[in-house]
């Protein structure tokens, strides 16, 4: 509705401008009238927002500039409340190109956020479709015992925290 009203207001302004120009010159000068309104509206908007948008960009730069390169890269994960340090820790231990499978504990409930962030940050390592096809098993919020059958075939557990572990397929 606001879009329609705005458009109608602009048409009305062009018509009024056209009428004034016709009185002054004796001719309909539609291009001049329309151009004048475009210049006024777009000019006012451009002038205002060049300043405000420019300031906002400078402010954004100031805020982001202070962050380290690593902090910039993991900001999204932190905003999702993912344990980003654990994911980075995994990235240092799983060789590039290897496959892994992420098992999430019931508490907190399995999260799409964690899945998306981990699969993104661990590139070029790739998440296998099932634990049986993976070379590494990542436990997030669970233990080998609680994860049950899914940990079968994995051992050599490395612990980052009590419920944050990385296991390797036996014999690989």
């Amino acid at each position: 509705m606001s879009l329609l009203l705005e458009a109608l207001a602009i048409v009305a302004a062009i018509c009024v401008c056209g009428l004034l120009l016709r009185r002054a010159t004796g001719h309909w000068q539609w291009r001049l009238a329309a151009s004048a309104i475009v210049v006024v509206v777009a000019g006012a908007m451009a002038a205002t927002y060049t300043v405000t948008s420019g300031r906002a960009l400078v402010r954004g730069w100031h805020e982001a500039h202070a962050l380290s390169a690593r902090a910039q890269e993991i900001r999204a994960g932190q905003r999702l409340s993912v344990n980003v340090d654990f994911v980075e820790w995994l990235g240092r231990r799983i060789p590039r190109g290897d496959s892994y499978y992420l098992v999430q504990g019931a508490r907190p409930h399995p999260s799409r956020r964690l899945f998306s962030w981990a699969t993104f940050r661990l590139l070029p390592r790739f998440q296998a479709a099932s634990p049986s096809r993976a070379r590494w098993l990542v436990l997030y919020g669970t233990t080998p015992r609680a994860a049950g059958a899914r940990t079968r075939g994995f051992g050599g557990w490395r612990q980052y925290a009590p419920t944050l572990l990385l296991g390797r397929r036996n014999g690989s």
């Binding site: 606001s2 329309a34 948008s53 998306s116």
Partner: protein
């Protein structure tokens, strides 16, 4: 390599190739004409290098920095080879551009250039350090950019299996490819500073719109309109955040404007460049495909109504070119059974559509609300609607006004359709994406303002005498004039 140097290197290469393409098409042939055409050359160069590289990628060829350099060299060599043989033609576009500039016009150009340069610098600074913290930015676009950086060929399992975490795997790859070139140049595997390339696209697009706008209207008119396309919060935030919508609009705006210019002055080279840029938009995001198809379909409809065979033949070739440029990626997606987010097949069945009809009202309401949000899009859509409405009153402007209005409406309809048939919950989708998916309409609006404001009649007869209100009203007045004579 430092991110700024990498972006500068990409810009120089794209500019060189783009200037060659413009010269080959006879659109900027002299050194004096090339400087103002730099923005258009930059976006053209990105598309001219990016699309053949994507074809190679879809064909299974390993793509790394050397491959991209070879593609740029090949395209540039062919373009410059053709361009240098071409005799310098007369300048393009409508005749308004030939008008001498007044002091106000000169002042407008100076203010525009200063403001654009300032925005380019501060926006570039912000884009090079802003973290990718919005979901789609890193999960869809960033992930694809990292995949293209880590692998030289398309890893099918990543695109095919949901377990890989790849979201919307069927989305086109032009922007991730551009970002991956940047990441390879700076030697990073993370996503730092990749948005710098998107920001430069927006600045290049503004330059392109200014160059084309100068052919259609006075600097006092085009300068603020083009500046609005850079400083509009809805657009610059999208770019700095690493989304693809505004970057897609950076190709769509000049492409649609070129097609609008072609409608008035149907020269094949204008249509060829329009088709290239529309293909760029379609390769950047699915909404770009909507815009490209809508623009060509409306142009065909207008020329069918006019019964102009020659123009229809040109449009047929343009449609064929567009299909050929877009086919490789779509064929690769189909050949590997990559699932899409939008269930297109089901979305065309009347039963499914009627089951989703309750989503239409809220979607239309929310999208029109976004388009009318003057704090986001600075009244550009309202201005375009007003000029289109006024354009219908004049016979010489009617076709162009119809073109822009119909393209905008079709684009809007396609977005509403895509949202309605999407598997994602409506509330979530409208909440997170409604201000993004309409950005193509803002680009179409900017193009419409630039062309229509220069087309309306000046110092002429009243609207009625100009074919405004239909022939029935014209006849008595004409008769009276004739009787007086």
């Amino acid at each position: 390599m430092a991110p700024e140097l990498a972006a500068a290197l990409v810009a120089v290469v794209a500019l060189s190739v783009g200037l060659g393409v413009l010269r080959a098409l006879g659109l900027a042939t002299t050194p004096r004409a090339m400087l103002p055409a730099a923005g258009l050359a930059y976006v053209t160069g990105i598309v001219a290098i990016g699309l053949p590289t994507l074809v190679l990628l879809a064909a299974g060829v390993a793509v790394d920095l050397v491959t991209v350099a070879l593609v740029a060299l090949a395209v540039g060599a062919v373009a410059w080879g053709v361009g240098l043989r071409r005799a310098p033609p007369v300048g393009g576009g409508d005749a308004v551009g030939a008008r001498p500039w007044t002091r106000l016009d000169r002042a407008a150009v100076v203010v525009f250039l200063v403001a654009l340069a300032a925005m380019a610098v501060v926006g570039g600074m912000a884009a090079s350090v802003t973290p990718l913290s919005h979901w789609d930015a890193w999960s869809i676009w960033g992930r694809k950019a990292v995949v293209l950086t880590q692998w030289s060929q398309l890893p099918v399992p990543f695109f095919k299996h949901a377990s890989s975490g790849m979201q919307s795997p069927d989305y086109p790859l032009l922007l991730p490819l551009l970002e991956s070139v940047h990441l390879r140049l700076i030697g990073a595997t993370g996503l730092r500073s990749a948005q710098l390339e998107l920001w430069l696209l927006a600045i290049g697009s503004a330059g392109a719109m200014a160059f084309l706008g100068a052919l259609l209207t006075r600097p006092l008119v085009w300068a603020p309109v083009v500046l609005c396309t850079v400083v509009a919060p809805g657009l610059y935030r999208n770019l700095v955040a690493g989304y693809a919508d505004a970057a897609m609009a950076a190709f769509l705006g000049p492409g649609i404007l070129l097609l609008g210019i072609w409608l008035r002055n149907p020269r094949p080279r204008t249509l060829a460049l329009a088709t290239l840029l529309l293909a760029g938009a379609a390769s950047a995001k699915d909404e770009g495909l909507f815009g490209a198809v809508a623009a060509l379909a409306v142009a065909v409809a207008i020329h069918l109504a006019r019964r102009r065979r020659r123009e229809l033949a040109q449009l047929g070739l343009a449609a064929l070119g567009l299909a050929l440029l877009l086919a490789p990626w779509r064929l690769w997606v189909a050949a590997h059974g990559i699932p899409g987010q939008i269930p297109v097949g089901r979305g065309l069945s009347s039963g499914f559509l009627s089951s989703r009809s309750d989503r239409i009202g809220p979607t239309v309401g929310r999208l029109t609300h976004e388009l009318g949000n003057r704090h986001n899009f600075l009244l550009l859509v309202a201005l375009a609607l007003a000029l289109c409405g006024l354009g219908f009153l004049f016979s010489r402007v009617r076709a162009v006004a119809t073109f822009y209005l119909a393209v905008g409406v079709l684009f809007f309809g396609a977005v509403v359709w895509a949202i309605c048939i999407s598997r994602v919950a409506l509330v979530w989708q409208l909440h997170t994406a409604s201000d993004r998916v309409v950005q193509g309409i803002v680009a179409v609006s900017a193009a419409a303002i630039l062309q229509l404001s220069g087309l309306l009649p000046d110092a002429g007869p009243s609207p009625a005498e100009n074919g405004v209100l239909g022939r029935t009203r014209l006849r008595p007045r004409r008769r009276r004039v004739e009787q007086r004579a």
